[in-house]
């Protein structure tokens, strides 16, 4: 009996016009009723690219042999010495795509005609996902967030992103990728309070095969808001001249009035 109650409860809650926290279950955009993926979302799972893995030594990127050799040497060095030389975000550069989609900071999704906008608290980055049917530019600018187009396949928003910079990392473990990387995301509501993002990385330069992971986000509780992010407001972890990430304990020793 109990077994049936759970799906029944799910159906009832999906059928409700409003979510418990007041958000509408569906929204009208571009003449279509769409699942309301809008709102503030909090990541679950590990902060690494693969949400199921918490230890960088256990990550299994489908790297080509020479890329794997470099990454293995790097992660072994970090584990042994505590010195990380592959994290540009420590110097306040943006994580870029796809790393920004696994941040410990929240993200906000906005649905408007012709565009889905994803704002990440981390570094205040903005992804504009064009849903107006346009394609990628023939000669796109290469940026941290890349160029994104999206289309709805039923209740799933499928986003394709290209033209990302090649000098960002996939996550804090220091996994590199090339500027030929292409990211496909499938965003859908698992239930009113949970958003799933299935990410697939295609990188013909670095990988032997695509790499797919699924990450789940929880809808923010009422009162949980996005905060502004000014990285230099209190960055205690700048990159040192030797390229490693440091910790500065001295300086700025006061509580603002």
């Amino acid at each position: 009996m109990k077994k049936y109650l759970v799906p029944l409860g799910l159906i009832l809650s999906l059928a409700a016009a409003q979510f418990a926290n007041g958000a509408e279950a569906t929204v009208s955009v571009d003449g279509k009723r769409l699942p309301n993926i809008g709102g503030v979302w909090i990541r679950t799972g590990s902060f690494l690219f693969d949400p199921a893995v918490r230890n960088p030594l256990l990550l299994k990127p489908p790297y080509k042999p020479d890329w794997m050799k470099d990454f293995d040497a790097h992660r072994k060095r970090v584990a042994e010495t505590g010195v990380n030389t592959q994290d540009p975000t420590a110097g306040c550069l943006p994580p870029g795509m796809p790393r920004m989609m696994s941040a410990v900071y929240p993200m906000e999704v906005l649905l408007t005609p012709g565009q889905v906008t994803i704002i990440t608290e981390w570094m205040g980055q903005i992804r504009r996902v064009y849903t107006d049917g346009r394609g990628h530019p023939e000669d796109p600018d290469i940026t941290y967030v890349g160029h994104s187009t999206g289309k709805w396949e039923g209740d799933v928003l499928v986003i394709e992103t290209v033209a990302m910079k090649g000098d960002t990392m996939l996550d804090q473990s220091g996994m590199k990728h090339s500027d030929q990387i292409r990211v496909v995301e499938r965003l859908r509501l698992l239930d009113p309070q949970r958003l799933e993002n299935e990410l697939t990385l295609h990188d013909p330069v670095a990988f032997t095969a695509p790499w797919t992971v699924k990450r789940v986000f929880n809808r923010a509780k009422p009162g949980e808001e996005m905060r502004e992010f000014v990285c230099m407001e209190n960055n205690r972890n700048p990159i040192k001249p030797d390229g490693s990430v440091g910790v500065i304990l001295q300086g700025n020793e006061s509580t603002p009035k």
Binding site: G45, S46, F47, G82, A90, V104, Y105, R236, V245, N252
Partner: protein, 125 residues
């Protein structure tokens, strides 16, 4: 009992993870924890990380100034911390992962506030 249970949960959560925020946490010794007790001298709810300084009484009347990096303000507030619950002058107990290089400082694991409530303040999720 409830408090111990909460502490245990925090410990388990912590052990299960070695995460944090915008940068690598390799400079902190994540396999070691230190419990410090003292008076808050600096409280800053800033991104990328919160920042606290605690004056800890040491031997022979000397005190140590501990400098501690914590979760982002949004993360702390979502765990139930009220901005007003940490003020300069408050007596607090903090569990931290100390610096690997021996400097007096670390990364916040959990906080016991002046009113006795404990919350997870560090490498979460």
């Amino acid at each position: 009992m409830r408090q111990y249970l909460r502490g245990l949960i925090a410990l388990v959560l912590f052990t299960a993870s070695q995460a944090m925020a915008h940068h690598s946490f390799a400079a902190f010794d994540l396999n070691k924890t230190v419990v410090i007790q003292g008076e808050l001298t600096v409280v800053r709810f800033t991104n990328p990380h919160s920042w606290f300084e605690v004056k800890v009484a040491g031997a022979e009347g000397k005190s140590e100034m501990w400098k501690i990096e914590g979760l982002s303000p949004q993360q702390l507030f979502s765990r139930g911390l009220k901005r007003s619950a940490m003020k300069v002058g408050d007596k607090v107990t903090l569990t931290v992962n100390p610096m690997r290089n021996g400097e007096v400082g670390g990364s916040l694991v959990n906080i016991t506030l002046a009113d006795g409530t404990t919350l997870l303040g560090g490498p979460g999720q």
